[in-house]
Symmetry: D2
Subunit: 178 residues, 4 copies
């Protein structure tokens, strides 16, 4: 666990949100990000059902859930907003879903977070710091424990004095790579 703020979300569009979202929008809440691809079986069978359970289990004013569509293969089949919208509609995904921006070999946010593939689950604390990232499966007990620990932490105002970096009582934060 480092003390660096979570990198910014670099997106080309959003579903289920009237405006683009980024890490600071969730300040004060624990944020769970599920990076997925719509044609990734592990995402469909495990990752997405799990964050739907997370969204049902925890109060929305304490914890937020978002998806991030990080397409790095089969672009023709799953790379359009229409395909993603159809998928989100059929699978009843009601949370905001960002479309990771395609501007390199890998999508931009995927690169900024150093993700190894999909599904990747990321947890950001109330103060905007990335506290957990896992490629592949994590079971519900372990994930619940991580979320419970972070929910028990206060949202220290000082820690967010300068979300772009800087020092406070807990330490000094490196600004996000931006």
């Amino acid at each position: 666990m480092d003390l660096r703020p979570a990198p910014a979300l670099i997106t080309s569009g959003w579903l289920n949100s009237p405006t683009p979202l980024d890490i600071p929008d969730f300040r004060g809440r624990v944020l769970v990000i599920e990076a997925f691809q719509m044609l990734c079986p592990g995402c469909v069978e495990h990752g997405l059902p799990q964050i739907q359970r997370v969204a049902r289990t925890f109060p929305a004013d304490q914890l937020a859930v978002i998806g991030l569509h990080t397409v790095f293969e089969h672009h023709a089949a799953q790379g359009t907003r229409e395909a993603l919208a159809a998928f989100a509609h059929e699978y009843r995904l009601g949370f905001p879903i960002g479309i990771d921006r395609q501007d390199g070999a890998l999508p931009a946010t995927m690169t900024a977070y150093g993700m190894q593939g999909t599904p990747t689950l990321i947890v950001v604390d109330r103060n905007g710091f990335r506290r957990f990232q896992r490629f592949g499966h994590i079971d519900d007990l372990a994930l619940g424990s991580i979320l419970g620990t972070l929910l028990a932490e206060p949202a220290a105002a000082s820690a967010m004095a300068d979300p772009a970096g800087g020092c406070d009582a807990t330490g000094c934060a490196v600004p996000p790579a931006a």
Copy 2:
């Protein structure tokens, strides 16, 4: 159970098969057809895993499994061969998959079989007669029983004397709607 031969498969292409396939190609074997859409959650979670289990459980020289992609919604997202190929690749679908021909409000084979939606599971006996059709789920015990019953039936040569219709010892068959 009527004595009518199963309607012909009207397709615009096939995956996992070098040539187009139709009911008579499976003569002598029990044929299980899974009609699905790649963005249909019930197909992905239940129907397709079930016929993969069927394909593993029964000997290939006695029972054949095929898919039929009957797209009737979200055509932009799932209506291309590329999208289906990516899906089949990611979900490790190794059986032949026909693409139901789009030439009306509903795909042509879907209409010919009177399907109500996806997933629909169809079982054709060794002699080319449709013996079972179910929209939605069927559990493994019940499906296994149906397949066991049909596998126990001999492939009476006479019954197939005229696969396009005609009479034999078991009765008179109406020719397929063609």
Copy 3:
């Protein structure tokens, strides 16, 4: 598959049946026997739920389900009728359950059938012949297929002319070891 009648059920008592039962009592129906122990995890988690599904799936006038309590270990804990009755009550086992007779190193019916342990699933055809026996798990599709095959067979009156042995049109049956 031999043509020998299923060995007799040698029991010291029955639950859920006013009278003792034996193979000939099920003549005309396919009979599924689940040999189990109440403290056998594989029986509780797989075998017993599976035959409860079997009992729900098939019509009772065509197929019967019974249990056989074949205690070969932990006799003090699970060897009494009271323990079995409490277990059957809590697990809602409504089918007849025979108590395999304890008169040797192994229970008598367990020995007669050559069972290797619990759970063991046995299927007897409409004519009283043992057609399938499996120690351990069998999945629903495969079991359903076996049952479907046997349900499709007629109960030939002649084959049961002499259930204790003898010859008929299908062949000559060795009398049960009795």
Copy 4:
């Protein structure tokens, strides 16, 4: 959540522990207690597998798991130490299991905790205070969150100055009913 210490464990014996155990033995660790009966299907199918997952997921020096056999029915079938030992052996229960003392209409610890039935899951914090109790099922995400929250709390020495009651910085504790 009150500030009362968890009631004492009133037992007539233990499995998987050379000595009797009680709440103060777990001081400094979060303690998860699963109250169960060996013939309770909900315990066998959900409660016990869940605390086995808990035991595997969390480090033993931070969190302890114990069972409590609270027999309140079918005493003849499940009320002996032999029956429980056979059950624990077959289900591979490796954690300490206390046998709730039979000295009233209900077992003594069951009464002291006001349990409504089995399974009941109880969580005691590092300082010996009961923080959670649930009759029936709780899903893994929610349980994980509770455990994560309690694991994040320090074991304040002062809070345990007088585990039998008394006041400290957090408040005043009613002595356990003893």
